[in-house]
């Protein structure tokens, strides 16, 4: 009985990913922003004023990016998904304040760890390998285990492979990270685009509501 209830709950959670906008706009958009961010840092040089400003604004870039892609996903879903297969508003986490504070603390720790790693490894580009591993693990844990969306296995593996391959490529770090996020952005876009195409083929617009 519990399994049957859980199946329904899982199905409802998976509905968020049914149209591919999460990957196409969310993953693709966020990774594109980060690709431009790191490439710009490398372009302006390590000790330039712009690089300093970019480093200081990493948290703002992340938060602004999340806000922007969230708005874009909602707008896309309102236009494409809800008229075709219906509208769902997901429940807020029960301990919203606690989870918000925890997310902020984890986010700050991750940002500090990132900066620490960047400054520690000057010759071996472990930063891009760490980025690949972190994103691969997040995709694996968050998406595959909580929402059971199987295509995220491939994205998770892609993240690990890109990270490992680029860490020994010999490119400058900024371009390496830029390239990593650009590759991830393309991978998310392909995955999301194919999912969206399948979704649109299977779900023509409703003529009467």
């Amino acid at each position: 009985m519990k399994d049957n209830f859980s199946d329904v709950e899982q199905r409802v959670k998976r509905y968020w990913y049914v149209d591919g906008f999460g990957e196409l706009v969310g993953g693709g958009g966020m990774c594109l922003i980060l690709a431009i961010y790191f490439a710009a840092g490398q372009y302006f040089g390590d000790d330039s004023l712009m690089d300093g400003l970019l480093q200081a604004s990493l948290v703002l870039v992340l938060l602004g990016g999340f806000y922007l892609v969230r708005r874009l996903i909602n707008a896309a879903k309102a236009r494409v998904t809800y008229p075709r297969t219906g509208y769902v508003e997901y429940s807020e986490p029960k301990n919203k304040v606690v989870s918000g504070v925890l997310s902020a603390v984890v986010g700050m720790l991750l940002a500090m760890t990132f900066v620490f790693i960047v400054r520690q490894f000057n010759k071996i580009d472990a930063m891009v390998a760490v980025s690949g591993a972190v994103m691969g693990i997040i995709l694996l844990v968050k998406q595959v285990w909580t929402a059971r969306v199987k295509r995220f296995y491939i994205l998770s593996a892609a993240s690990l492979i890109y990270g490992a391959a680029l860490s020994v490529s010999g490119f400058p770090r900024g371009y390496n990270l830029g390239l990593f996020y650009a590759l991830m952005s393309i991978s998310f876009a392909i995955s999301g685009g194919l999912t969206l195409k399948k979704y649109l083929d299977e779900n023509p617009p409703q003529t009467d509501l």
Partner: protein, 102 residues
């Protein structure tokens, strides 16, 4: 034992009906869902779904609101606190019955 088993006869029949159980279970997993989503997920016809939702609304288990999402008209359904408690009690009763009979 027999008395315990008889407890199954006190199951909330409003929820026990399969279509309504499915509707309530779906609504328990979200903050709200619209008519189209429920129709697709349950596989019920519009008339059937409408009838079941009306019964659940009359019992105070579901709240139905006509609203808009942008320019899109939506009939949004939400499980009330009473509905949440009723589902929780129902699940508990079924679980106990299954444990006693397995």
């Amino acid at each position: 034992m027999a008395n315990d088993l008889r407890a199954v006869t006190t199951l909330d029949r409003l929820i026990h009906e399969p279509a309504r159980l499915l509707i309530i279970t779906i609504l328990s997993s979200v903050a709200s869902a619209d008519f189209l989503y429920l129709q697709r997920e349950t596989g019920l016809t519009k008339g059937n779904l409408s009838a079941h939702l009306s019964k659940l609304e009359e019992a105070g288990y579901v709240k139905i609101e006509k609203t808009f999402k942008g320019k899109l008209p939506l009939t949004v359904c939400k499980l009330t606190l009473t509905g949440q408690k009723a589902l929780k009690a129902y699940r508990q009763q079924v679980k106990e019955f299954m444990e006693m009979t397995s």
